[in-house]
Amino acid sequence: MKSILLATLVGAFALVTTHAQEIGKAAPAFTAKNSKGETVSLADFKGKTVVLEWLNFECPFVKKHYSSGNMQKLQTDAAAKGVVWLSVNSSAEGKQGYCNPEKMTGCIAREGVKAAHVLLDSDGVVGKSYAAKVTPHLFVINKEGMLAYDGAIDSKSSTDAADVATADKLFANALEAVIAGKEVVNAKNKPYGCGVKY
């Protein structure tokens, strides 16, 4: 209960009970508020495949995937296959990409975000428990609650939307494998992007 006590002391609204972030191990549990002010826990999606996407709408690498429609398409495809997509904004208050619920609601509408929930993690508790390094940084959690992917959205570290079409679809391939119950070939690779603004 030590972590819960600490989280309460710093006034956090996200609670973290485990700190593992290894492939094949239990994904760290968390509870956070979404953009509508509702409480969302990883435990709510027991038995489902879950995607975590780290988000900062002012980061050029994130813009690349939203302006091209790539991220929204991935979100829509995932939802169609019963996958729960959680976008997480870990920008601290006063840092680039920080959104209060009202601003985030506006961004969701403007960008056409198709995630099941957008989580507001301005104290960085969820981000740090997964050691989310950059935006976008993608994780996949399988139906058994085990971490199955930790890495990049695709293989081309650029801010050019034209590169989306020709990049290796590292994340999409991994998600497909997880849904099919197959082993993920490249389960851990270095994500590219802007540093998360903790």
Binding site: P60, K95, Q96, A131, S157, T159, K190, G195, Y198
Partner: protein, 224 residues
């Protein structure tokens, strides 16, 4: 030739291995038939920490030399166009940039331009393999990497007084500053693996920057 990037105070751009975040500077060339552009040569970087994220890159002015090969029997004039893309960040934000640069060349004798000296200086700042330094060996040991450099040539290199950067991304945790210590005829450093390290590690390139002289050294290891 070379591409010069002038970065505003407080901002930085990135090296070949950008560190935990960021993006290296890259260029797409539009060249006349027969012309070949080499790699954009990156000078040795500096280390910085912005908002808790470790990066490798440049502040101020950075010059990237690039070597061209003209077609055999080149006559007349050639127009070379570079589409350069880079990323600059400060502690708060990241802003991508790009520019289209064009230079026209005419056949004729070599003439030193005012920039020639700058390009010469920039070439010296690009890490090179040097006889006295190396070879580099890498051993995986209990979740860490044991780096060993046999530096037996003359003058005797002092790896302990060098800044060391991993050129190959995703092998060594960028948060760890690599420090070599003397171990008889060799120098060793034990470093934590990056969480994204492939198993087994197949290749590693390091850049070693001596504090006492301006010439950075390239050390390369590949699994046998």
């Amino acid at each position: 030739m070379a591409i010069r990037l002038v970065i505003d105070p407080g901002w930085h751009s990135y090296w070949l291995n950008p560190g935990e975040a960021g993006m290296k500077t890259s260029v797409k060339w539009e060249l006349p038939a027969g012309w070949v552009a080499g790699e954009l040569e990156n000078p040795a970087p500096k280390r910085f920490t912005g908002a808790g994220v470790v990066g490798f890159g440049y502040k101020g002015t950075v010059i990237f030399p690039v070597k061209f090969t003209a077609p055999i029997g080149f006559k007349g004039a050639a127009r070379l166009t570079a589409n350069v893309s880079w990323l600059t960040c400060d502690d708060q934000a990241c802003v991508p940039g790009n520019a289209e640069l064009t230079v026209s060349l005419n056949e004729g004798p070599l003439i030193a331009t005012p920039e020639a000296q700058l390009i010469d200086q920039a070439l010296r700042a690009v890490p090179q393999v040097r006889q006295a330094w190396g070879p580099l060996e890498v051993l995986e040991k209990e979740g860490t990497l044991l780096l060993t450099v046999t530096a037996s040539g003359e003058p005797k290199p002092d790896l302990g007084a060098c800044e060391v950067f991993p050129t190959t991304p995703g092998i060594i945790d960028p948060n760890h500053e690599i420090k070599f210590s003397r171990n008889g005829e060799t120098w060793t450093a034990q470093v934590p693996k990056s969480r994204y390290v492939p198993t087994p590690v197949r290749e590693l390139t390091l850049v070693v920057v001596p504090k006492s002289e301006p010439l950075p050294v390239l050390l390369h290891w590949k699994i046998r």
